[in-house]
């Protein structure tokens, strides 16, 4: 079995103890503290990271060993040198945060959401499930981002930042 994991492009050995969560591997072992531990039980979304570039998952509910051989992107892996990822820039411009604790998870989640929209993955508010396409809308963004809680209540800015960034590439 492959005992390494790729984190933001760097090959990294997996911990020998299988109890280590992907979140704790990032924060405690690799000192990548951008990914946040909120509830540590899958209720808040603060720990959201991306698998193989665009599949959003919760790193708190993942054992690191389950992702052996896979590629993980955390918030630290999004910027291009000094240039922010477009969503990072949009969150600044739209006041998509106050305390900022949920922000890395929100941004990773939104990148995953954009990929799901491109694939036409339905949501609970999609009118016609049988139709392969999904129309981009305010309600679709809110429903699809419901796994990311913001206790400051910066939702209007978050939805605006995502809408501006994602709408351009939406079907």
């Amino acid at each position: 079995m492959d005992m390494t994991i790729r984190i933001n492009g760097s090959e990294t050995p997996l911990p020998s103890d299988p109890r280590v969560s992907l979140l704790d591997l990032l924060r405690e072992h690799l000192h990548l503290s951008g990914t946040k531990k909120g509830c540590n039980q899958g209720a808040c979304g603060a720990c959201t990271v991306l698998v193989d570039g665009e599949e959003r998952i919760l790193s708190c509910l993942a054992l690191a060993v389950q992702y052996a051989g896979r590629s993980i992107t955390s918030i630290e892996g999004l910027a291009n040198g000094e240039g922010l990822h477009p969503l990072q820039q949009a969150f600044i411009e739209h006041d998509g945060f106050q305390c900022g604790y949920c922000t890395p998870g929100q941004i990773c989640s939104a990148i995953g959401m954009a990929a799901e929209l491109r694939r036409g993955v339905p949501s609970y508010v999609t009118d016609d499930i049988a139709d392969g396409a999904v129309a981009f809308s305010h309600d679709e963004v809110r429903e699809r981002m419901s796994g990311n809680v913001c206790r400051c209540g910066a939702y209007n800015g978050i939805v605006a930042a995502i809408t501006e960034t994602v709408r351009e590439e939406a079907p």
């Binding site: 109890r19 993942a62 049988a130």
Partner: protein
């Protein structure tokens, strides 16, 4: 978490061989099991990762659909055959959890997830017969507005939390199993148990038995089907009541109907009483109301959850009205 060993199975026979070890548990996406292990409610000594087993979704010549148990929830919900032929299943899956969790969770794991009864989770502060058999149940007499109104016992009033399983129950899904004694298949409606005197047993699975696939029989009228979930907030919450339904109406008469309820019982609740009451009857609001009332006639409320009995009836009627074009 208590210490455990970790192994990844390449196929079902290897998984079953590894899973036969005392204290072994199969691991899907981990969205429920890892959480329960962190709370030390589950204390496996070995985890067998079965996410490498079949995850294909195949349309078969007899019109059935075979879904590998390692398929992710999202993969099932977005599959063209599921969306077009069994829309209630797609809609039930996307009603559950969050997008991140649906990307992790497998079909097999979704079926075997455990109750979210808060007393089951409160290892330090509450008695629970499901967690510690014979201990007693603090949900009865406690805060029980989320608990069961159908099929509960004096030992347990927990509900099954899955949305997906409610749709599978309505569809007569067959669950393919592989275990130390070989392979077999059971109806999803027979897989989960009512609590009776043994709420620690969620299902009829034998020790070491593994879910390998789900089979959906052909059901042409399921193109007219839906899933509606009523909850305390509009997204990312467990069901208070949910309804999966498919209906076939010909000349104003109900030719066939499938109906199942979530959030009301220890298992996904196939509403056969209501189905029998509807077949051959006019597809009218009065028929829907009478059938819903018959299904809930034996419901037994606890202190805080009597509202579920009326809510379940109104939701059944609303879904059937919507499917038959009686309201937008």
């Amino acid at each position: 978490m208590t210490p455990f060993t970790f192994a990844r199975a390449a196929d079902a026979p290897e998984a079953v061989r590894l899973g036969a070890a005392p204290g072994a548990r199969y691991l899907g996406g981990g969205t429920n099991l890892v959480d329960l292990m962190r709370e030390t409610i589950e204390r496996p000594s070995a985890l067998v990762d079965v996410t490498g087993l079949s995850r294909t979704i195949d349309e078969r010549p007899d019109g059935s659909l075979l879904i590998g148990a390692a398929a992710k929830n999202t993969a099932v919900a977005e599959h063209p055959a599921v969306r077009s032929r069994y829309p209630l299943l797609s809609r039930a899956i996307v009603a559950g959890a969050s997008a991140q969790i649906r990307n992790m969770a497998t079909v097999g794991g979704n079926i075997l997830q455990r109750t979210r009864c808060t007393y089951f989770y409160d290892d330090d502060g509450a008695r629970c017969n499901k967690r510690s058999p014979g201990q007693g149940c603090d949900a009865i007499g406690g805060f029980n507005r989320i608990h069961a109104v159908l099929g509960a016992s004096e030992a347990c009033v927990a509900t099954h939390p899955s949305d997906m399983c409610v749709a599978l129950a309505a569809l007569d899904a067959q669950v393919h199993l592989h275990g130390p004694q070989g392979a077999r298949s059971v109806a999803l409606t027979d897989l989960h148990r009512l609590p009776e005197d043994h709420p620690e047993l969620d299902t009829i699975l034998a020790p070491g038995e593994l879910i390998t696939a789900i089979e959906l029989p052909a059901l042409p009228f399921a193109v007219h089907s839906s899933y509606r979930k009523v909850r305390d907030r509009s997204s990312y919450a467990f069901a208070l009541v949910s309804v999966a339904a498919a209906i076939d109406v010909d000349g104003g008469i109900v030719r066939d109907v499938r109906l199942a309820l979530g959030g009301v019982a220890h298992k996904p609740w196939r509403a056969r009483i209501a189905e029998d009451a509807l077949k051959g009857r006019p597809a009218t609001t009065d028929s829907f109301r009478a059938a819903a009332a018959a299904e809930l006639a034996d419901a037994a409320p606890l202190q805080d959850n009597a509202f579920k009995i009326g809510l379940a009836q109104r939701t059944i009627v609303a879904v059937l009205e919507s499917l038959t074009g009686r309201q937008p």
